[in-house]
């Protein structure tokens, strides 16, 4: 029985259909997220308002007489938050998928190398000492968090490089060490911070409230650059997860490809942590779920994970701001509350199927 190429291409086509489905789901999640909230806006109006902002299609969309307030709510309040959720969700999922391949371990996540602890310390210092901001419209917290996480990344990287060639074990080890050191420093800062403790806790749990286009603009360049690099590296990730020697035997320089992939995934993680706080579980469960649906080929897994990460976080954030309205739950709490049981279900189902 010879599996003919036709059957194989049908198998590939099935996977491309999953792709179209994901994009459709993302658009649906965006439309729903833009519609629900304190002011509920009917779905047709939401879609029309959003489409009227796009070039070329805008002139075909008539204004059906919705109040002007709808446009302000969608475009000024909800859309930036949705875009931020997409940026953060896709960054964390993409970085998670990449690091799972580099560490050859499906349990790796974007925070494994200590970037989150760097960002957390930066944010804690900025909140406790009320650091002044030098960028208009953007307070000092995300800037301090971003700078601190980039510095952390550089320190972890150079520590890992001390042992000769930067092996992934060395990255993991120096990440853990640097991380625990930074958490200790952060605890000290929190002890003296007094009344800003609650604000720090909120930041640490991860939240997208009170965010605007300025945050989107801050994270977007790193996001575009990082995700593009990761998708370009997808083929190398396929070979690297087999092991260093095997990657080399199949024509990929493992050292160089790993360095590029580590830097790109660190940059997108740093950018998203600094604007959204430490949002857990996205980088773990989204790539994992996608791998079960689409298989482990990173040329499909990476783009699919980034889209699915966006869907997941847009949905989670919509729940975060509507479930106990007018109060808000930090979105990191939602992702963990949904993520942990979901993850257990997956593991259980796989165990049953495996035996």
């Amino acid at each position: 029985m010879k599996p003919d190429p036709v059957a194989y291409s049908a198998y590939r086509d099935r996977r491309y259909r999953c792709f179209v489905t994901l994009t459709f789901l993302l658009l649906t999640a965006m439309a729903i997220a833009a519609g629900v909230g304190a002011v509920s806006i009917p779905l047709p109006d939401v879609i029309s308002i959003l489409l009227r902002r796009l070039p070329y299609v805008s002139k075909w969309i008539p204004h059906t007489g919705w109040p002007d307030a709808y446009e302000t709510i969608i475009l000024e309040v909800r859309l930036p938050r949705i875009l931020l959720a997409i940026i953060i969700g896709s960054s964390l999922a993409g970085a998670g998928a990449t690091l799972q391949s580099l560490f050859r371990n499906p349990l790796a996540d974007p925070y494994i190398m200590g970037i989150s602890s760097g960002a957390a310390l930066g944010a804690t210092i900025a909140i406790s000492f009320r650091l002044p901001s030098f960028i208009p419209g953007l307070n000092s917290v995300p800037v301090a968090a971003f700078l601190a996480s980039i510095i952390t990344m550089a320190v972890v990287y150079s520590l890992a490089g001390v042992s000769g060639r930067a092996s992934m074990d060395a990255f993991l080890l120096s990440g853990v060490v640097v991380s625990s050191f930074l958490w200790a420093v952060m605890s000290l800062v929190m002890m003296v911070s007094g009344d800003s403790l609650r604000e720090i806790m909120m930041w640490l749990m991860g939240s997208l409230s009170n965010k605007g286009y300025v945050h989107v603009k801050m994270a977007a360049p790193y996001w575009i650059f990082g995700i593009a690099v990761l998708i370009i590296m997808a083929r190398d990730l396929n070979l690297i997860c087999l092991g260093d020697d095997e990657a080399r035997y199949l024509g990929v320089d493992p050292g160089q490809s790993k360095r590029i992939a580590v830097i790109a995934s660190s940059v997108v993680t740093a950018a998203s942590v600094s604007v959204g706080g430490v949002i857990g579980f996205v980088g773990l469960i989204v790539p994992h779920t996608m791998r079960m649906v689409l298989g482990p080929d990173h040329r499909l897994l990476l783009p699919a994970s980034t889209i699915a990460g966006g869907i997941f976080l847009v949905t989670a954030d919509t729940c975060a701001r509507t479930l106990i309205a007018p109060a808000e739950i930090p979105v990191g709490v939602i992702t963990a509350l949904v993520g942990a049981p979901f993850f257990l279900c997956i593991l259980r189902r796989r165990k049953i199927r495996g035996s």
Binding site: P3, P106, G243, D245, G251, P296, D297
Partner: protein
Amino acid sequence: MRLEAFSVCHKYGIIEAIDKVSVSLESGDFVGILGSNGSGKTTLLRLLAGALKPSMGTILLDSEDIGDMVPKVIAQKIAVVPQNGTIPFPFSVLEIVLMGREPHKGRFSRESPQDMDIVFQAMAATSTTHLAKRSVLELSYGEKQRVIIARALAQEPGILLLDEPTSHLDPGYQVEIMDLFKSLSRFENIAVLAVLHDVNLASQYCDRLVMLNHGRKVADGPPQEVVTEEILKKVYGVKAHITTHPVVGCPQVMLVPGFMSPAS
């Protein structure tokens, strides 16, 4: 195609794993590397494949220093079957064998019909066609070994380096796979170098045997010169009786159990 190592050395820390070893391999050769555990067989193979840099000496692939070549160019000429590594994700067998085409493709190009033909031929040659859609995580060691061999064949290499290719195979597949390598070297003019554990199997199939001991080359020649009582005693510390294979005519080892020979 020609792969040569000129008195290469390699150290792990202060331990000399390979000490001034020279070997050469040419199209059509079938060379076996023998030696006791820890004698540097795998290290020599990794040096020849360009995965390790020699601390001294040079390795030339078609008279070009392999240290100056990028992995992709090396992978177009040399395919390696390493010892069974773990694959952490559930790739299908077909996906794994298709990876053998990567050195010949651009980063973004999809596999062409020719690529698919080559891959299916490689799978047919290793009796893995029926496994195509299975996940590699579900395979037995022997099946996985044959899948990795299929991937190496899909690279269409001029040189094939094998690290104990028969270690997890039953006698039936051992003969099938070794026959395959033999026909590749004889009819396709591929240079085959295999690290082998089984002296008898090596003697039956290889044109030349290289015997390593503590990182040094102690013998290099046709099986008749290498498989001798004296060399086996020196390398493995065993008492052996050498006979001639009744069909192949090559030397075969019959080990003499320790309890049968008086302690010396």
